[in-house]
């Protein structure tokens, strides 16, 4: 009788374990803190679902989706044509969902007198064409560049939309993540970097001490716009706003569908705001409808 009871207990444990859904998410370092928080909140309410979130960069996450190693890829840029071809080759049908909006923020040291730049000036700085702060109204000081590594979606997005698809200056320090860029710029009076807006705030929701978030003009003569004002980013006035994507293979179903529905629902979007990104709006809502949400 005792053996039968033990056997039943073991079976119950295994049955319970088998009943648990497991979602693997990999990709963008810009999204990692946000998606980890979303997962924590979701798992509190859905204890039968386990979610593992890892980073590595948008390219790494998309590659993992193409290789069928994860259910969700986080990306801070849209999928490239080459990646779509690779999806097709491996029988993966990518469905694109936008879970939030980011005002990609250009940051300098808090003591830097430069408070605004045009997109062209920022591009010139990161290409290495402008190498001294005095060329853009600052002090006579060589500019120190902080950026991401090539597997980062932020690296690719910034290169396409700010550098005019040209190469970064070889002098740019290629950091592992957004947090390292923020720390680098805070410690470097000549520093300039670009990060997801969620990384510029402290725990109280204020811009971190020692950091200035630049106002950016689309072109010379236009009014400079701050990404710290939600409406500027949502309306598209801020010129370096971008969508935060998740990609899944095929029509959403099961636990993956449930989790993404949570992300896009009121609770999930509240988390998006708490993590200092902006909720999904405008055309992106239509985009999500096409993906079944």
């Amino acid at each position: 009788m005792k053996r039968i009871l033990i056997l039943m207990c073991v079976l119950a444990v295994f049955t319970g374990a088998m009943a648990q859904d497991f979602i693997q998410i990999k990709g963008s370092d810009t999204l990692i803190n946000l998606v980890q928080r979303l997962s924590e909140v979701y798992m509190e309410k859905n204890p039968n679902t386990a979610i593992a979130v890892t980073g590595g960069g948008s390219g790494v996450g998309i590659a993992a989706l193409i290789a069928n190693r994860v259910q969700i890829a986080d990306a801070s840029r849209p999928m490239k044509a080459k990646e779509k071809n690779a999806c097709k080759e491996n029988g993966v049908i990518p469905y694109e969902i936008v879970i939030g909006i980011d005002g990609l923020s250009v940051i300098v040291h808090g003591d830097n007198p430069v408070k605004k730049l045009t997109v062209e000036q920022i591009g010139g700085i990161f290409r290495g064409d402008i190498s001294n702060w005095k060329e853009v109204g600052g002090a006579d000081m060589a500019i120190s560049l902080y950026g991401r590594q090539a597997n980062s979606g932020t690296f690719v997005f910034f290169q396409e939309h700010v550098l005019g698809k040209k190469e970064y200056s070889p002098k740019m320090k290629r950091m592992n993540g957004n947090a390292q860029i923020v720390e680098g710029v805070i410690a470097d009076k000549a520093g300039i970097g670009y990060v997801g807006i969620g990384y510029v705030f402290d725990d109280k929701g204020h811009v971190r001490d020692g950091l200035t978030v630049l106002n950016v003009s689309p072109k010379a003569g236009d009014d400079p716009v701050s990404p710290l004002v939600a409406e500027n980013v949502k309306s598209g006035k801020y010129p370096i706003a971008r969508a935060l994507f998740q990609y899944i293979n095929g029509k959403p179903k099961g636990a993956v569908k449930d989790f993404i529905a949570f992300e896009l629902g009121p609770e999930g979007q509240k988390v998006v705001e708490e993590m200092s990104f902006y909720p999904v709006s405008g055309d992106y809502l239509e985009n999500n409808k096409k993906a079944g949400f």
Binding site: A63, R69, K88, N90, G91, A150, K166, E167, Y168
Partner: protein, 367 residues
């Protein structure tokens, strides 16, 4: 053969020494393997009928290195089993050895060395099953897939793209044999995502009599010039792809004589191909199919060196198969290929295969 291997060994050694000295650069080592078990169920040749074998049909081994932020190099070796009964070892040869210079002109890349050609690359990308068979122009040697020279590829806007090539015209396997070069130009539109409309032309002057230059025909029919025109339309949706390619190749004033005894008649080769693939709702399973029609000489009665050519020599090629992808980048593809000849009494070919295709890559590594 030993000399070839020795030369390749030296090339490899020199190459890696050069690379190792370039510290801090990103590099990738990657490769592709196509292998089959095939069975010739029917064949127009009685010797080939019934033959079956395991074979490595293609291996690529590629090294890429970002020499500077703007300049990348690629070195690719290719090798494969010989034909049935060939007892020689599998030998590698150089398929690609080029520098790729990004932003040489705005939104343009310059290629120098043995690099890809522009004749059918877009069609090949849409077909997506080189592991099963080359596209029609490649298969019938209308153009080589790689050649030696220079190329410029880029965007003329968001929806208009082009690719210019200036190559020897001898492909990747041979050195130049005359003073003439092959000019190729591809121009394509991508008006909406997934749709492509492409036109392509190429031209190479020839000197069949060898006056003032080394005489070596680059084509069986020879001619005073070779030229090609082709069109390609492809559409790629997330779950399916369709494409069609049409071409005509002209050998002007060829070395052939027509049925009326007319010397140096023009010879035309033409063909079309229609293909598609579909990702089924069944997990990890795709279907693919293709139909080619090829006529190696539109004049059905010509003579080269008193040997009759081009009589009812057209054929149709039908390919169909399944693509099962148990894990990422590994494909098992049962497929069948049927070649139907128009010549009276010539038996059709039918080959059943189980093809294994896989890719590998180190990803980007820092040297």
């Amino acid at each position: 053969m030993k000399i070839k291997q020795y030369q390749i060994g030296i090339l490899f050694f020199t190459f890696f020494l050069g690379i190792i000295s370039l510290s801090g650069q990103t590099s990738t080592i990657k490769g592709v393997v196509f292998a089959d078990y095939y069975n010739n169920l029917k064949n127009h040749s009685s010797e080939a009928e019934g033959l079956n074998a395991f074979q490595i049909r293609r291996v690529y081994f590629t090294f890429e290195n970002n020499i500077t932020p703007n300049i990348k190099m690629r070195f690719r070796l290719e090798s494969a089993h010989g034909k049935f009964g060939d007892d020689s070892k599998i030998n590698p040869f150089v398929k690609h050895a080029y520098l790729e210079w990004s932003n040489f002109l705005p939104s343009h890349k310059l290629y120098l060395g043995i690099a890809e050609t522009n004749a059918f690359k877009n069609a090949e990308n849409y077909w997506g099953y080189r592991s099963i068979e080359k596209t029609i122009m490649d298969l019938n040697k209308i153009s080589s897939s790689a050649d030696m020279g220079l190329a410029l590829k880029g965007d003329l806007g968001t929806v208009l793209h082009h690719w210019f090539t200036l190559y020897n015209g001898t492909g990747y396997g041979s050195a130049e044999v005359d003073k003439y070069k092959k000019l190729g130009y591809a121009l394509w539109l991508t008006p909406v995502e997934g749709l492509i409309l492409e036109g392509y032309v190429d031209y190479e002057k020839q000197d069949p009599d060898g006056n003032g230059t080394f005489k070596y025909a680059k084509d069986y029919f020879q001619g005073t010039s070779y030229s090609t025109m082709k069109g390609f339309v492809g559409y790629s949706a997330p779950s399916f792809t369709l494409g069609t390619e049409v071409f005509v190749r002209t050998n002007k004033d060829s070395g052939a004589k027509d049925a009326d005894g007319m010397e140096k008649t023009d010879v035309k080769k033409q063909g079309f191909s229609v293909f598609g693939s579909w990702i089924t709702p069944l997990t990890k399973l795709k279907l693919f199919g293709r139909y080619d029609s090829f006529d190696p000489n539109t004049k059905d009665n010509v003579w080269v060196s008193d040997v009759k050519n081009g009589m009812d020599d057209e054929y149709a090629l039908i390919i169909a198969g399944l693509d099962y992808i148990p894990e990422g980048n590994i494909h098992f593809m049962p497929n069948i290929m049927i070649k139907k000849y128009t010549a009276d009494g010539k038996k059709n070919d039918m080959t059943a295969r189980l093809t294994l295709y896989y890719k590998f890559s180190t990803g980007k590594i820092i040297i």
